[in-house]
Subunit: 256 residues, 2 copies
DNA sequence: AATAATGGTTCAAATAATGAACCAACCACC
DNA sequence: GGTGGTTGGTTCATTATTTGAACCATTATT
């Protein structure tokens, strides 16, 4: 791995659960030498990607990242556009709704709304979702570029639960169903006891760029609820896509 | 400059005005060799910090940045907290209101509300503000750590207009006034014909972490309007600080 | 058809990154 | 008030990575 990759992988150690980490901790988790880790942190700090707490000397993500993210968001107002619809959907379903955007080879969770009840599915902002074993992933793949689908199915596919589909043929079938139906269903493919539905948010060219999903404890979820949520999530995704692309969303090339 | 610094300085070439850049362009502007530039871009792309348009082959900021920025925001909800108050202030003043956060040695503009009129001060998201020559900068310095103030005054201070204060003593005086008054005033210190007021948003320890400012064309701004806006911006900053720190904002050590 | 852009690649030479060993300071625990 | 185990931080000879001139393939422009 090159030096910039190492620097970035340091940044990736921070999470919602652990937003502040010390030098030794970072060195341990990254596997880099303490001196290396520190040199990288200094470089990142000097550009505002990392900040150091004056008191504890621990490190945290810096304002430079917010800046760049805002510049990106100004050009491509994904969050701004989608968040209100995520809220609406969360209110009407009373279950966890999460929004994700594609990045490299996974989906990046960029927004979450949790219902005000104790028994719920918990998703963290920044959480990374695999493509083959989540409702969001299948919804994304259903409208992704062939190269992306191929790259996904070619890699080694982890089985997170006993229900995870890992045969390319089974995943392809699942994608096909999602494409026809307009939304995907994933029954405990990523975590035991969780059932989700998701739909793809699409760019002007018709290809998926992210997803919106509703996740709920399977124990209290009926088949009728799934169908209802599926329609709702599909409608929300359609509306977000429309708003993003100014009404002129092309019909997708790749139809079922 | 180390390799990670170079990689980051590539990212910094993107802006709201130019959110997409080609390889040659990036190489030219950064001053790096084309091969180097590309290697850096590949590294950044493979971690989702940069995306490449499939059609134009141009590069843009990637979803990985949004992810990290959201993780940061989850821990420290500066934007979430402040934006509503920025909106209120923009509505009541009918002038440009911008919010900034300290980073490295400057203020980073993280949110802007523009009034719906043609003649207005324009501020872009991501814009970097110098500390010594803007209302925000002076407001920040007035409640910054001594080290920060010292580092600022020690550096070479650019004169952006004929009105820019560049003598450390004059800047210190300006800071003192801002501290007493509760808000800063900057009369064309950064751009000719623009007058701004700003107040510091403070962390739990009493030190500034950002600012909120109102900027207007000087031609239509009376002394009374300045005073009125000063109070409003001060109140907004106080409210944001309160909400961020859960009511227990410590009185600042360094008083006038 | 020639010209000058563009994005992208190669490999010996130059440079920057590495890490074991080293401080100093802090904390917990007899 | 030692003692051992932390922590953050630094040094410098060794080592591995980055560098860039020259290269190719495409795609406009003239």
């Amino acid at each position: 791995m090159g030096t910039v990759g190492k620097a970035i992988s340091l940044l990736e150690l921070f999470s919602v659960d652990e937003p502040e980490l010390g030098l030794s901790d970072l060195a341990r988790r990254s596997g880099f030498d303490k001196a290396t880790t520190r040199r990288l942190l200094v470089a990142l700090t000097s550009h505002g990607f990392v900040e150091q707490d004056a008191g504890t000397r621990h490190y945290r993500l810096g304002a430079g990242l917010s800046r760049l993210a805002r510049i990106r968001e100004a050009r491509f107002p994904f969050l701004q556009t989608a968040v209100p619809l995520v809220r609406d959907l969360a209110a009407s379903t009373a279950e966890t709704v999460h929004l994700s955007e594609f990045g490299v080879d996974r989906l990046v969770t960029v927004h979450v709304e949790h219902p005000a009840r104790a028994n719920r599915v918990n998703v963290d902002i920044g959480q990374l979702l695999p493509l083959h074993s989540t409702a969001s992933g299948i919804a994304y793949l259903a409208f992704a570029r062939d190269e992306t689908v191929k790259a996904c199915l070619a890699g080694s596919l982890d089985a997170f639960t006993a229900h995870t589909l890992i045969e390319p043929a089974a995943i392809s079938r699942s994608m096909g169903e999602a494409r026809e139906r307009g939304y995907s269903i994933c029954d405990q493919g990523y975590e035991e006891g969780v059932i989700s539905v998701a739909a793809a948010i699409r760019a002007a060219d018709g290809f998926a760029l992210g997803t919106i999903a509703v996740a709920a404890p399977k124990a209290r979820t009926t088949a009728a609820a799934i169908a209802e949520r599926g329609l709702a999530v599909m409608e929300a995704a359609r509306e977000i896509s429309m708003r993003l692309n100014g009404e002129n969303l092309q019909t997708l090339r790749r139809q079922a």
